[in-house]
């Protein structure tokens, strides 16, 4: 019944559809094409062969995943309690506190990183792996807190009351009701932290005085040095890792959370 002349305005999406085709779909196709060709444009698996046979690249890759995992884990550890407190009416009523946690998400990541470097300088702590992990957690913690906070916030409070009514202790309520119900938020938090940490490039460079290299940096260096095909192959590998990760999370949920960012 809703179909009407209104529907003819579906053609309005056409310019944008074209734009998406050229600036989103085609570039991704190009990554695949470049990844599977050599610099003469011939079909080849050389780029992937190179990746597997170079211990340095593989090590960087594994090390990056490790760093990303540690960062993500620390973010859950620090972020979950914060999100829980923020969403609990008995523990926190202030919307301003919530905003203060979300706000750093909107500051340039380089500025934030440089600020961290400045903090370490100020406290005379040497840069290195510790600084790297601290900086990453510092950069991405808000991205963990926000989605968890969001799910907890939307949770039907009567469920908790129901559990209490049925005789559950507060700790039981937390582990058997609150935690399971907040898992979607945790999953999307993991996506929002793991994905950028595995793909960052400049941050690691600045936080470790270029002593520790992450996978993102390797990709960037290759592209900058004209090794487009190899760089594209590495990008494709990263995309696959991210694709696999996102299989574990509901992408709808995530876009919803991002949509509610402001």
């Amino acid at each position: 019944m809703k179909v009407s002349i209104f529907s003819r305005r579906s053609t309005w999406a056409l310019p944008y559809a074209l734009f998406l085709g050229v600036f989103v779909a085609l570039p991704l196709v190009l990554i695949v094409i470049f990844a599977f060709t050599n610099n003469q444009g011939e079909l080849s698996l050389l780029n992937f062969e190179k990746f597997i046979t170079q211990p340095e690249a593989v090590n960087t890759f594994i090390y990056s995943i490790g760093i990303a995992l540690v960062t993500t884990f620390l973010c859950i550890l620090l972020g979950y309690p914060a999100a829980y407190i923020l969403s609990n009416k008995n523990l926190n009523r202030s919307q301003t506190t919530v905003m203060l946690f979300i706000l750093p998400m909107w500051i340039n990541i380089l500025v934030r990183t440089l600020a961290t470097v400045a903090l370490f300088d100020f406290a005379h702590i040497p840069l290195g792996e510790g600084a790297l992990i601290f900086g990453m957690v510092y950069n991405f913690l808000p991205f963990m807190i926000y989605p968890i906070y969001n799910t907890l916030q939307k949770m039907d409070h009567s469920l908790i009351e129901a559990a209490e009514d049925l005789g559950a202790k507060p700790s039981t309520v937390f582990w058997k009701v609150t935690v399971p119900l907040s898992l979607p938020g945790v999953t999307s938090g993991i996506m929002m932290v793991f994905m950028p940490t595995i793909s960052t490039f400049a941050i690691a460079e600045l936080l470790t005085m270029n002593n520790i290299k992450l996978f993102g940096t390797t990709i960037q260096e290759n592209i900058n040095n004209g090794m487009w095909n190899y760089g594209a192959a590495l990008s494709l590998i990263m995309l696959v890792i991210i694709g696999v990760t996102s299989l574990f999370s509901d992408s709808d949920e995530q876009s919803q959370n991002e949509g509610g960012l402001i």
Binding site: M1, V3, S4, I5, F6
Partner: protein
């Protein structure tokens, strides 16, 4: 009320389908100037589609809509001299009451002074004087609907279209608005085309009621005609409460149903013709003394309904009837009943058995309703086109949908006193009519099977 009898809108052979689903099927309708006409039917019957086509929001697949002799089928909505009141008001949220009402006038470049006076006049008409500067979002549903009506009538349309305008209001507000609409119609003297699924509203307001179902017009008539002389069992069931029963026209002015012969006023059906009989619950007279009655029964239930009591009575021959009376009769008591000849409404049966067009798949199998059914060998070769007929009470419905030869969904249920008459829509889009004593719900998915001996095949030419 209607003084002028000339036609303002003429609809001819109008059809519309959304994808495979036919929503309007060959609609023909004349709307007279100044009349209050209501399109009435259950949701999905096509009434809103028809209204939207008159408004111009939808284009017909075929057929024409004529307005004052001109074909307007291709005219875009903003150039049609009619205005619409939408179900959910559709007020512009960013404009206040005044600007909402003045919207159409401003577009038509009406001088400011005239806009002002016309807006005030129409606000007065809907009893909303002094609301000009209010934010439309701050108004109650009833007030919003008044503004929506004012916004439409301020343009002095020749025809006002109203799409279930009162559906979102509560009962009390709805009753008040009904009276106001009726009064407004008389004052304005323009044609109202009104869409509703509420039969009481339709009967209260209209000069003419158009009952629709399945994209077809079932009956057009005055409210009194529609109520008293429903043309088929759908209309009888949809309009008001009724007992719909199978009967046989014995001869002119005599009809047999619920196991008794009754005198009636209908003629011309022929002798011994199967018919549907409709008796309104308030038309069955009930007395405590069973001896002088036409027929007797036992009271099964009795519920107070505010003004009257509603009772279900099991008759001496095992039929269940609904009746309404001002007096209560004790449950379990034996009562006597009679019906006046003029209160018995006889309708010709649309069909007496299911008939399907099909094709022989072999000498003993036939394809109908999109499935393969076994039938007795009647000497027809593979590929021959045939008619297959099945009596209503010989169609078997199965709980487990996989067990049937084909699947169907129960679309419509009619209680006929001692059994249910179901309309089942098969996956192939055909309708199967089933008489059964089993209780099913609307929307149930069932398996359909037919015993080999109940399937009657005849050659199609």
């Amino acid at each position: 009320m209607v003084t002028n009898n000339d036609t303002i809108i003429k609809i001819e052979h109008l059809s519309k389908a959304f994808g495979d689903k036919v929503v309007l099927d060959d609609i023909n309708l004349d709307i007279r100037r100044g009349e209050f006409i209501t399109l009435l039917g259950p949701s999905g019957c096509g009434k809103t589609t028809l209204l939207r086509m008159i408004a111009g929001f939808l284009k017909p697949d075929s057929g024409v809509i004529m307005m004052e002799g001109n074909d307007i089928s291709e005219v875009p909505p903003h150039r049609r001299p009619l205005n619409t009141v939408f179900q959910r008001y559709a007020l512009f949220p960013h404009l206040n009451v005044y600007d909402n009402i003045a919207f159409g006038l401003k577009l038509n470049k009406v001088p400011a002074a005239e806009i002002e006076s016309r807006v005030r006049k129409s606000l007065k008409m809907v009893s909303m004087t002094d609301y000009e500067d209010r934010d439309v979002n701050s108004l109650s549903g009833g007030q919003q609907q008044r503004v929506a009506i004012a916004r439409a009538i301020v343009n002095r349309p020749k025809v006002l279209l109203l799409d279930e305008p009162l559906a979102a209001l509560d009962l009390k507000m709805r009753k008040d608005m009904q009276m106001e609409l009726k009064q407004m119609h008389q004052e304005l003297g323009i044609t109202f085309i009104y869409v509703t699924h509420d039969q009481e509203e339709a009967l209260t307001l209209s000069d003419t009621v158009v009952v629709m179902s399945d994209g077809k017009i079932q009956q057009i008539g005055t409210p009194i005609d529609i109520y008293n002389e429903p043309t088929n069992s759908f209309v009888a069931d949809f309009i008001g409460e009724s007992n719909i029963l199978n009967g046989t026209m014995v001869c002119d002015r005599e009809v047999e149903f619920i196991g008794h012969k009754f005198e009636c006023v209908d003629e011309g059906f022929g002798n011994n013709t199967p018919v549907d009989v409709v008796v309104r619950p308030e038309d069955i007279y009930i007395i405590a003394n069973a001896e002088n009655a036409k027929f007797t029964g036992t009271v099964k239930s009795c519920i107070f309904k505010g003004v009257h009591y509603e009772m279900f009575v099991e008759t001496d021959n095992g039929y269940e009837l609904m009746l309404q009376d001002y007096n209560a009769f004790e449950v379990g008591s034996t009562v006597g009943m009679f019906i006046k000849p003029s209160d018995i409404h006889v309708m010709a049966k649309e069909r007496t058995c299911n008939t399907f067009e099909g094709k022989m798949l072999s000498a003993t199998t036939v394809e109908i309703m999109g499935g393969e059914f076994h039938c007795a060998d009647c000497g027809l070769a593979e590929g021959e086109s045939v008619y297959a007929s099945i009596n209503f009470d010989r169609v078997e419905l199965l709980d487990n949908k996989e067990d049937g030869t084909v699947m169907g969904e129960i679309e419509f249920i009619l209680y006929k006193g001692n059994h249910y008459h179901l309309t089942v829509l098969t996956d192939s889009g055909e309708k199967v009519y089933v008489d059964t004593n089993d209780i099913w719900d609307k929307g149930d998915i069932v398996g359909i099977s037919v015993d080999i001996s109940d399937l009657h095949i005849s050659k199609r030419v």
